[in-house]
Subunit: 396 residues, 4 copies
C-alpha cells in the first residue's frame, strides 16, 4: 500500500527520526569498560522524567506489565492487602495480576469512563485504623477509556489520615506525556514502558521507586528472581545489568531523552494538552461523545470515542486500517466494539493530528456514522489557532 502508515494508537507511538537513527547500530559488549558511559546517565535521566530525585529507577527488559510485576513482587509480601480500583482494561489487568500474585485485593469497581474514586479511597483509608492496607494503587491514565486520575489527590487522602500505605502508580501511558511528580506526590512505585511517551519500540519496562519502597523491598517476602531489585542494584550501580540488556533500545532511550529535555518536559506536557484539545474539539464537532464521562477525567494522551448505536467499532478499526492505512485504537473488553481510540501522545504535532482526524472522518463516514465531512478538522484547526492566538497575546 502506497504511502506511510498512520499510527494513532496509544502506543507504540511514532519513533522520532533521531531515535531511529540511534537504534541503527551494530551490537557491542555489555561488559565493556565504556558501557557505563551509556547506562549511568540513562538511569539519572529517566529519573528526571519521573521527577524522582531521591529514589532510583530500574530498567527491565520487559513490557510495562513486567515492571508492574517487579513493583509488586519486590516491595510487597504475599498476602498483603492492597486498595485498588477498576474502570478500564488496564486497571483491570493490574487487579488481575495482584490477585494472581497472591495479594488480598480490595477492588473498587467504578463506571468505565471515570477514574480513581478518591473519596472512596479516603474513606477506606480512614477506616483502616490498623493499617492493614499495605499499598494503594492508582492507574494514572487508563488507556482503554482515555481517563486520567488524580494522583496528587490520592496522596492527599493518604496524608489526611496519616496512613503509611505505599502508593503505586501505573504511568505507562502518562509518564513523559502528562504532568507527573513522583517526589512531590509521594509515589513509591511508578511504572512506565518504552513504547509510549518515551517514543521507543516496546521492550523496556521502567520502575521508578522511592527510598521508602527500597526500604520496604528489604523485608518483603515474595518470590522473584528475574525482576529482583537486589541483582539489579548490585550491577546497575556500576553501570551494568545482571543479564544481557537490550543495548539497541538503550541507545534509542538516550536519543529519546535528549529530545525530551531539548523540548523541555513542561513543554512536552503543554504540547500534549494542546493536541488533545484539538482532538476533543473534533469529537465534539462530530456530535460524538468521549468515553470519559466528565472533563476532569479527560486524558491528554488518548481519547476513547463512543460510537453511535449500531456501529461496530471492530469494523471501524479494520476499515481505517485497510482502506486508509491508518491505525486507530480499538475498544477493549467491556467497551469492545463500542468505542474507537485516537492515541495522541509521543512524537506528535498538529498536522499529524489533522491527518488522524481526516482519516477518522473518512472512516466514520464510510462506516455509516453521520458526521459532516471536514467538521472535525475544522474544529481542531480553530482550536489550534485560537490557542496560538491566546499564547501570542500572553507573550506580547
Amino acid at each position: 500500500m502506497a504511502g506511510f502508515n498512520h499510527l494513532f494508537i496509544p502506543g507504540p507511538t511514532n519513533i522520532p527520526e533521531q531515535v531511529r537513527q540511534a537504534m541503527n547500530l551494530p551490537m557491542e559488549d555489555m561488559r565493556s569498560p565504556r558501557y557505563p558511559e551509556l547506562t549511568l546517565p540513562l538511569f539519572a535521566d529517566v529519573k528526571k522524567v519521573f521527577k524522582n530525585h531521591d529514589g532510583r529507577v530500574f530498567i527491565y527488559t520487559s513490557s510495562g506489565t513486567g515492571a508492574w510485576e517487579a513493583a509488586m513482587t519486590n516491595v510487597l509480601s504475599s498476602g498483603d492487602k492492597l486498595l485498588m480500583s477498576r474502570f478500564g482494561q488496564f486497571s483491570h489487568l493490574w487487579v488481575d495480576m495482584a490477585e494472581r500474585l497472591g495479594f488480598e485485593v480490595d477492588c473498587l469497581d467504578m463506571e468505565w469512563g471515570t477514574g480513581v474514586p478518591v473519596e472512596l479511597y479516603a474513606e477506606r483509608l480512614a477506616a483502616d485504623k490498623a493499617h492493614k492496607i499495605k499499598a494503594v494503587f492508582v492507574t494514572h491514565n487508563e488507556t482503554a477509556t482515555g481517563v486520567t486520575s488524580d494522583v496528587a489527590a490520592v496522596r492527599a487522602a493518604l496524608d489526611a489520615c496519616g496512613h503509611p500505605a505505599l502508593l503505586f502508580v501505573d504511568g505507562v501511558s502518562s509518564i513523559g506525556s502528562i504532568d507527573f511528580r513522583q517526589d512531590e506526590w509521594g509515589v513509591d512505585c511508578a511504572v512506565s514502558g518504552s513504547q509510549k511517551g518515551f517514543m521507543l519500540p516496546a521492550g523496556l519496562g521502567f520502575l521508578s521507586v522511592s527510598q521508602k519502597a527500597l526500604k520496604a523491598a528489604k523485608t518483603a517476602r515474595h518470590m522473584r528472581c528475574y525482576f529482583s531489585f537486589e541483582d539489579m542494584i548490585k550491577t546497575n550501580d556500576t553501570g551494568y545489568f545482571p543479564y544481557t540488556p537490550p543495548t539497541q533500545l538503550l541507545h534509542g532511550l538516550r536519543a529519546a531523552l535528549d529530545l525530551i529535555f531539548e523540548e523541555g518536559l513542561e513543554n512536552v506536557f503543554a504540547r500534549h494538552h494542546h493536541l488533545a484539545n484539538g482532538v476533543r474539539a473534533a469529537v465534539s464537532a462530530w456530535g460524538l461523545k468521549l468515553c470519559a464521562t466528565e472533563p476532569k477525567w479527560h486524558s491528554d494522551t488518548v481519547s476513547a470515542i463512543r460510537l453511535p448505536e449500531g456501529i461496530d467499532g471492530v469494523e471501524v478499526i479494520k476499515h481505517a486500517y485497510r482502506a486508509y492505512n491508518t491505525s486507530l485504537g480499538s475498544g477493549l473488553s467491556k467497551v469492545a466494539g463500542k468505542v474507537f481510540r485516537i492515541g495522541h501522545l509521543g512524537s506528535l504535532n498538529e498536522v499529524m493530528v489533522l491527518g488522524a482526524l481526516g482519516a477518522a472522518e473518512m472512516t466514520l463516514l464510510d462506516c455509516g456514522v453521520e458526521i459532516e465531512a471536514g467538521s472535525g478538522v475544522a474544529a481542531a484547526i480553530n482550536q489550534f489557532r485560537s490557542a496560538a492566538a491566546t499564547a501570542a497575546a500572553k507573550a506580547a
Copy 2:
C-alpha cells in the same frame, strides 16, 4: 520540533520504508563478480517504467539536470537547431542549458500556466521543409506551474509532416507517476531523476533513449566525457559502470522498482490522478485558483496554487515550515511569491493528502487568506469518497 516533518514538495518525495531499509547497508565492491546481479535487472526494469523496449537506459550519478545534459551532448551536435518552448522555471532552465551548450534554439515563450503549444510546434515543423530542426523538446510536466503537456500530440505533429527531428522529453516530475509511453510516443530521449516518482533521494539521473537516438549519438559532434554514452555502454553491458556508481542508491532503486511493479504502473498512475483530484477539489473549495489555466494542463503530480493579491508566498512557505513542520513548494522565478505548490507524487496516500491540506489551511488562515477552515479537507474527503463509490459501483 516534535513529530514528523510533512513533506509535500514536488520532490524529493517521501521515501517508502522498504526503500529506506534497502539503503541502510555497508559498502561493497562495484567490481565484484556479483555486482551485475544488482545492476543488470535495474537497467531492464527502469526501461519498463519508461515503457522503452527497444532502446536502453543510462543511470548517471547526477541530478536530472545532468541527464538533460547527457541527452543533448551525446545525441546532438553543437550548433544544431532545436525547437523548444518555455512556460515555467524548468522549461526555462532546459532552454538555458541548450543555449549555453551552443545549440541554436527556437524557443516559443508561452504564458506560464499553459504547456507545450502543440499547434505552434506543428506549424514550425511543417514549415521546416529543409529539416533544419534536429530535435523537438517537451517538458512533460512543468514542476513550477503544475502543468502537464501532451507528448503524444507532439509526436503526432511530427508524424503529420513526416519530420525526422528527434523528440526529447523532460519527464523528471512525471515519469513513474503519470502515463508515459516512450516507444508508443516515439520519444528519443526521456529524462528523469531519482527523487520524484522513483521515491529515492536525489543522486541518480535517468536517461532513456531510443535506437534512433543511439544511432544519432554515433555521429553527433559535441564535447562530453563524464556523460558519454560510449563509456557507459561499454561497461553497463556487463553490469558495471565507468566510474564508481552510487551503490546505496542502486539498492534503493531496486526496492523502489519492486514497489512500483507490485502496485502496478497503471495503478500508480490512477492513484496519482485520484490524489490530485482531491487536492484540486480542496483548492476549489478554498476559492483559490490553480496556476494551470485550464483543466487540460492539470498536473497529477504537483499543484501550483495562486495566492490572493497582497499575500506573500515566500512568507506562506516559511510559516508552514516553521509553525507546522510542513514543507510546501515555493513559487519559482516569474511566479515567486505568487503561488505555493503542493507536491502530490511518489509514495503518497489519501490521509497524507488530508494532512497536507490541513496544514495548508492552517497556514493560509494564519497568513491572512480568507478561506473557511476545514473546507478544503471536506472537499477532498468528498472527492475521495465519491470516487471510491464510483469505482465500487463499476466493480459491482
Copy 3:
C-alpha cells in the same frame, strides 16, 4: 576510534545486515489485522530451530534469564525437587534462580571446565525410586567455560531407569548454533535468547516446550503472571500477545530465521564447528590451554582460554578493547581474571575469526604472554584450508 569494533564475545553476536535492515522501521499496531501475518510464521519457524514439532514456543519480552524463570514457574510447583549441576557461571545462576524461586535443588558441583555429569545423574535418577525428582537440568553450553554437555545422554539416563522427570535445557548459547533436537532428545523445556545464535540484539527470551511440559503446566502451583503460559497461549494462538510485543525485534527475528533456513540449519552447525576448530588450533599453537578439560567438552560457540599465571585477564580484556577496538569475553566468577573468551557464534566467517585471532595475538603479546606472533593465525589458516581440502576430496 577509527574503524569497526570487533565483537568476539559469546553474545550479543554480530547482527547480519539483513537483520539490521529489517529492524530499521517505524512502529506499527500490534493489534492490526495483519499483525498475525508476522507472528504466526515466527512461532512456527522458531520451533523448527529447536526441532520441536509437537509442542509450542513462547517468545517473551525478556532476556534468556526471563525464559528460565518462565520455564520453572509455569511447569513446576514450589518445593519441587530438581536435579541440577554447576560448573560455570551460567549453570550457577540457574541453580541460584531455582533456589530463590523456592525449589529444592540437588546440585552437583563439578569442576569448572567439565560439564553435566551424566553418570552421576544416572545414579541419582536410578536411586530415586519414588520419583521425587521432578525435573533434571542441563546447561547445554556453559558460556563461562566453553563447555558443551551431552543432552542426549541425559535423556538416555532418564529412559534407562524409566524416570518420568521433566528435562530442562539451557540452550541460550547453543540453540541455533550447535546441534539440538528437542523432540528426539525428549527435552521438555528448552530456553534460548535472541542475542546468540539468533543473531539479534538482546530482548527476546525463547522457551520451547513439549506437550508434556504444557500438560504439567496445567496443574503446576507457582506464582507467575508476566511469564504465564496461559495468557500467552490465549493470545498467541491468534497471532497476538498479552502485552505490547517488541515489534522491532520480531521483524529482525523474521530476517534472522530466513537467513538460518537459507543457509540450512545443519550447515550452520557445520560452520560453527569448522570455525571453532580454527580457534582451537590457534590456542594450541599459542601453547595455551582451553578451560574445557577434555575435547568432549569443547564448545563450538565459545572458547575460554586459560591465561598463564601472573597474567591478569581483566587487563587483557581491557587492553584489547582500548588498544584494538576488540571485544573479547572476560572470565566470570571463579575464573575471573584467569581466562579470556573468544565467542565464535552467530553470523561469522573465517576471515572474521582470523581477525579475532590477530587481535588476540597483539593483545596477548602486549600483556606479556609469550606467544609467537602469527602462530595462531597460521594454525587457523592451516586448519581451515585442510578442512576445505578434505571436504573437496570427499565431494569429488
Copy 4:
C-alpha cells in the same frame, strides 16, 4: 554467506556507523529556510580537509570523474595546452578525458609503478618560455598502482622557473587520508570523491579551487552547464544548490567530517601511514613485491602487490570474494591479472588490516602462491607493535 563482507578495495571504503546512522533519514526540502544550516558549514569544513583557506569548494552530484570534468571545463579553454603524465589507469583516464574534451595534451608516459616525473616536468616548464602550458596535472595517488607523487615538488618546479601554469591535482584516493596542503602547495584545482577518505558511498564529487582558478574560470571558454561554477556559486553562497542535491549524502558528509576532525586530520594521516606500513611488512614477509618500484612512491592508502608469474590475478580476486567473502582490489588495464590490491584507507584499524592480511594469505595459498601461512600477519603484528613501542618511548 554468513558473516560480514570484508571490504579492502581502495574505495568505496567502509562506512563508519555514525555516518551510516546519519544517512538513515527521511527526505527534506532542499529549499527550506533551515537547509543552509546543513550546507554552509559543509562547504567550510570540506575546505579544511583540503587545507584550502582562500578559495572555495564545489560539491557536485557526481563521481570524482565528474569533478575532474568540472575542473577542466570551468577553468581551462578548449585547445589549451596541458602538461600531464601517465603511469596507471587513473592518470590514464584523466589524460583521456583531457583529450576528449579538446585540450592539447603533452603526456609523459612513465613506467607503471612510478609517479609524476618531477624532473621532466621541470624541464618542460623551464623550456616553455612562452607559457603555452596552461596547466600542469598531478595524480597525487595513482590508485591502480599504489603510487603517491610529490605535489610539493611540482609546485617547486613551477616556482623555480616562475611558470604561471595552473596546478591541477587528482586527490580522489589521497585527500583526507594522506597529507595534502592546497594553499601551501599552491594547488589551483584539487579533486576528490566521497567514497574514499571521506568514508561515504559514492555520489559526491569534490572540487576545491584557488582564487587563481576562480579568476581563470571567469574568462575560460569551454562548454559546460551541469558542472558550471557560475550556477553553483550563485546558489551555494546562500546555502542552496542549482539542482536538487543528494541530501542523504550531505548528512553523511556532516557525520564524516565530524569524525575526521574529532580524530584530527594529522592523526588520520598518521594512522594511514601506520596501517600501510603493516601491509607493506606483510607483503615483504610473503616474499612478494609492490607494484610501486621504490619506497618514495609507496602509497599509504592502497598497496598494489605483484603476483608471481603464472598466477592469474583475476582468479585471485574472484576466489577471495567467493571463498572468503573478501573484496580485494583487482589489477586494472596494463596490470590486469598481474597484481591484486589491498585498499587501506578510510575508516580502518589494525585488526581490520590483520583480517585483510589473513584473507589474503588464505587466498594466495589456495591460488598456488608459495607463501608461509601466518607470515604476513606476523610481520604486520610486529610492525604495529614496534611502532607503538617507539611512540610510547617518544611520549615518555
